[in-house]
C-alpha cells in the first residue's frame, strides 16, 4: 500500500484533534492505526513538525509498544495467547497448528493477505484456556477444529 494523500489527510486531522491533549502520542498512534491499520513512517515528519518532537522520539515511541504495527497487516489478525495459563492447556499445540496450517510464522501474513498471525501475552481469558483472538473477538477453550473454522471464515472475509 502506498502512502496516499488521503492517508496524509487522515493523519493531519488526528494530529490536530490531539494537539492540545496531554500525553497526545498514545491516543494519536491508536487513532492512526485504527484509521490506516498501521502506523506508516511517513507519519513521523508530520507529527514531528506539529508536536515539536524529533523523528527519533516518535520512532522510539512506536517501536516500544507491541500493539503498534509498522507495516500493513492482513485483512484479519489472529492473536494466539502464549502466556502460562494457556500453555498449561496446550497453547503450544494450537500455536504450531496455526503456523503449519497457515504456513507462516509469527508477525507474518498469508500470501493471499487474509490473515496475519501474532503472539499475545494474556487476553484475560485464563479461566478458559487456551485462548485466541480473531480481530477483536476472543475465543476460549480453543481446539484445532475451531481454528479450522476461524481460518475458513477469515479467508471468506478477505
Amino acid at each position: 500500500m502506498s502512502f496516499t494523500k488521503e492517508s496524509a489527510e487522515k493523519i493531519q486531522n488526528l494530529i490536530g484533534k490531539f494537539q492540545d491533549k496531554p500525553g497526545a502520542l498514545l491516543p494519536l498512534m491508536h487513532g492512526i492505526q485504527d484509521a490506516l491499520g498501521f502506523v506508516p513512517e511517513e507519519a513521523y515528519p508530520l507529527i514531528s513538525k506539529a508536536y515539536q518532537l524529533s523523528i527519533a522520539e516518535i520512532h522510539g515511541f512506536v517501536t516500544f509498544y507491541h500493539h503498534f504495527r509498522r507495516k500493513p497487516s492482513g485483512k484479519n489478525i489472529l492473536h494466539i495467547c502464549r502466556a502460562e495459563s494457556c500453555q498449561s492447556m496446550g497453547a503450544e499445540k494450537i500455536e504450531q497448528y496455526c503456523k503449519d496450517k497457515l504456513d507462516i510464522d509469527y508477525h507474518d501474513t498469508t500470501s493471499d493477505g487474509a490473515i496475519t498471525l501474532e503472539p499475545i501475552y494474556c487476553l484475560g481469558n485464563c479461566a478458559c484456556s487456551p485462548a485466541v483472538m480473531i480481530n477483536e473477538k476472543v475465543l476460549g477453550r480453543v481446539t484445532p477444529n475451531m481454528i479450522d473454522k476461524i481460518i475458513e471464515r477469515a479467508k471468506e472475509n478477505s
Partner: protein, 517 residues
C-alpha cells in the same frame, strides 16, 4: 405471561459463545411464541458453568449451564424459562456451593444485573460509600482506608491508606488519581471482570480517592487487549456524568472530578507504576528511578495516587460499611478479602473472593476440582509471570502476603495457574526469561541483558554442557537480577526460575544432591 432470564456479556462468557446462545434463545422464543425478557447481565465468575443462563423464579434465580447453542432447543422443550428441571440445571445460583462458600465484598454485585444499569447499581448499594465520603473530611476518608488495612491488590501490597496520606499531605494545585488497569499477568482477570461487570464501583472508588486526596482528574490506564472493557467503561463514564456522579459539582457539592480511559498499547512493563506514568505522558514506558515516589512527583510531576482496579473497587464498600467491617476479614497483616482467580489446568475455574487465609489446597481441589486433564497437579504459579512456582509440598500454605513472602513466593494479583504432571519446568523457567527479554523496558542492565543470558544458560544446562558450572552461573545471575534491577520485572523474574530449579531439578537434568562445581 412473560418470563425473565439472564444471559451474560462478560468477555469470557462471550468467548464461549454467550452471544450465539442469546441469539438462539431469542429465535426459539419467537418461534414458540413465548414472551421472554432477556437481561444481558455480567458474569458472577463461575466460568466452568459459562455460558450460564439464569431464570428468575419466585424462590430466586435458577442456574443453567454451561449452555451451548445445541442445548437451546432441549432447554425450551423442558420449559427451562418457567424454572423447570433439565440436566443443565444447578438449582438456585446462590445456593451453588462454589459461590455460596465465598465472601464477596468487592464483587458483591458482579453478575447480578446489567453492568450499565445505574438504577440497578443504586438498588444494590451503589454510591452509598461516596455519599458517606462526602460528609467526611478528606483526612477522615484517608483514615478509614488506612484503618481497613487495605493493601494494594495489584501485587505490591503497599498499604493504600499510607499512599493516600502521602498524596493528601503533599501540597499541590493539581493532583491525579490513576487507575492501573494494565492487568497483564497470566492467570488474572479480576480487573477485567470488575470493569466489564461492575464498572460503576470502580468509578465510585476513584471519585472517593479524588475527594480524599484533593485530586480533580482521574485516568484509567487500560490494556489494549481488553476491547470489551473499554466499551463498557466509556459508556459507564458517560452515564455517571449524566447523573452527576462525575464532572462538575458532584452530588451538589463543590467537588469536581473528571475521568477518562486511556488505551495502553500492549507493553507488559507499563503495569509497573512509573512506567505507566511515562506511557500516560505519551512517552516510551521506561521505568523511572524511585525516589521521588509517584505519590509526591507522579504524573506530569504532580502528586499522584496510582492504584490497581481491585484496590479502587474495594474502596466503596469500606466507606459504606466502615473500616472495621472490612478489616474483620483476613488474617495477620493481610486484611479483608482477595479476589482469587483460578486459571489454567483446573476443572472449575473462575473468580473466588475469600478472606485471606484460605489454603492453596482448598482453592485448587475444593474449589478447582483438581486438574482439567485428570492428571496429577505438579505445580501452580501464583501471582503472574513473576510469581514463584509452588509444588505440592507447599499447597497447605494459607494465602497471606507474609506467609508467601517467607518462601520467596508472592500472592501478587491473586491469579493461580495450575499445571499437570506433563509440564516441563525447565521449559517454564526458560519461558520466564524469554518473557522478560520480550517485555523488559531496557533501562537497567540486569533485566535487559540478564534475561537473554538466562535463556542461554538454561539451554546449556538442558543440553548437558558443564551442568554444575552453569547451574552456579544461573544462581549467580538470579542474584544479580534480584539485587540489581530497577523494578519488579528484572527483580522478580528469577522467582519462577529459581523455584523451578529448586523444586524440579530433574526437569533440568540435575540431581537434587548435585555437588556444586
Amino acid at each position: 405471561m412473560s418470563y425473565k432470564i439472564y444471559i451474560p456479556t462478560d468477555s469470557t462468557s462471550l468467548s464461549l459463545g454467550a452471544d450465539e446462545v442469546f441469539e438462539a434463545v431469542q429465535r426459539e422464543a419467537i418461534q414458540r411464541n413465548i414472551s421472554l425478557e432477556i437481561v444481558r447481565n455480567g458474569s458472577r465468575g463461575l466460568f466452568w458453568l459459562e455460558p450460564l443462563i439464569e431464570v428468575e423464579t419466585k424462590t430466586g434465580r435458577l442456574a443453567y449451564g454451561p449452555v451451548t447453542v445445541d442445548d437451546v432447543r432441549a432447554l425450551f422443550d423442558a420449559e427451562f424459562f418457567a424454572g423447570k428441571g433439565h440436566a443443565l440445571c444447578h438449582g438456585l445460583t446462590e445456593e451453588i456451593e462454589w459461590l455460596k462458600k465465598q465472601e464477596r465484598l468487592t464483587f458483591a454485585r458482579a453478575g447480578i444485573s446489567d453492568p450499565l444499569n445505574l438504577n440497578d447499581y443504586l438498588n444494590l448499594g451503589g454510591f452509598r460509600g461516596l455519599k458517606n465520603a462526602i460528609n467526611l473530611k478528606p483526612n477522615e476518608i484517608v483514615k478509614t482506608v488506612t484503618d481497613s488495612g487495605l493493601r494494594g491488590r495489584g501485587g505490591a501490597a503497599f498499604p493504600t491508606g499510607i499512599k493516600w496520606q502521602t498524596v493528601h499531605d503533599t501540597l499541590s494545585q493539581k493532583k491525579y488519581i490513576v487507575c492501573n488497569a494494565d492487568e497483564g499477568d497470566s492467570g488474572t482477570y479480576s480487573d477485567r471482570m470488575i470493569m466489564e461487570n461492575d464498572p460503576f464501583v470502580l468509578i465510585e472508588g476513584m471519585v472517593i480517592a479524588g475527594l480524599a486526596v484533593g485530586a480533580d482528574q482521574g485516568y484509567i490506564y487500560l490494556r489494549s487487549e481488553y476491547p470489551d472493557a473499554l466499551k463498557v467503561l466509556n459508556k459507564a463514564i458517560d452515564l455517571a456524568k449524566e447523573k452527576g456522579y462525575l464532572g462538575d459539582k458532584i452530588l451538589g457539592t463543590d467537588f469536581n472530578f473528571e475521568l477518562e480511559v486511556t488505551r495502553a498499547a500492549g507493553a507488559y512493563i507499563c503495569g509497573e507504576e512509573t512506567s505507566l506514568l511515562e506511557s500516560l505522558e505519551g512517552k516510551r514506558g521506561m521505568v523511572r528511578y524511585k525516589p521521588p515516589l509517584p505519590a509526591i512527583e507522579g504524573l506530569y510531576g504532580k502528586p499522584t495516587v496510582v492504584n490497581n482496579v481491585i484496590t479502587l473497587a474495594s474502596i466503596p464498600i469500606i466507606l459504606d460499611k466502615g473500616s472495621k467491617y472490612y478489616a474483620d476479614y483476613g488474617m495477620g497483616r493481610s486484611k479483608g478479602t482477595l479476589p482469587i482467580q483460578l486459571a489454567g489446568n483446573l476443572k472449575k475455574t473462575g473468580l473466588i473472593e475469600k478472606a485471606f487465609g484460605i489454603t492453596l489446597r482448598e482453592l485448587i481441589y475444593d474449589f478447582g476440582g483438581g486438574s482439567a486433564t485428570g492428571r496429577p497437579i505438579k505445580a501452580v504459579q501464583v501471582g503472574g509471570p513473576l510469581g514463584a512456582f509452588i509444588p505440592e509440598s507447599q499447597f497447605d500454605m494459607p494465602m497471606d502476603y507474609e506467609t508467601f513472602a517467607k518462601v520467596n513466593a508472592v500472592v501478587g494479583h491473586g491469579g493461580i495457574v495450575a499445571f499437570d504432571d506433563t509440564v516441563d519446568m525447565a521449559k517454564m523457567a526458560r519461558y520466564s526469561f524469554e518473557f522478560c527479554a520480550i517485555e523488559s523496558c531496557g533501562k537497567c542492565t540486569p533485566c535487559r541483558i540478564g534475561s537473554t543470558r538466562g535463556m542461554e544458560v538454561i539451554d546449556k544446562i538442558k543440553a548437558g554442557v558443564e551442568v554444575n558450572k552453569n547451574e552456579k552461573l544461573l544462581r549467580d545471575l538470579a542474584d544479580t537480577m534480584v539485587s540489581g534491577s530497577l523494578c519488579a520485572m528484572g527483580g522478580m523474574t528469577p522467582f519462577p526460575v529459581i523455584s523451578a530449579l529448586n523444586f524440579f531439578p530433574n526437569d533440568f537434568g540435575l540431581e537434587k544432591t548435585d555437588t556444586k562445581a
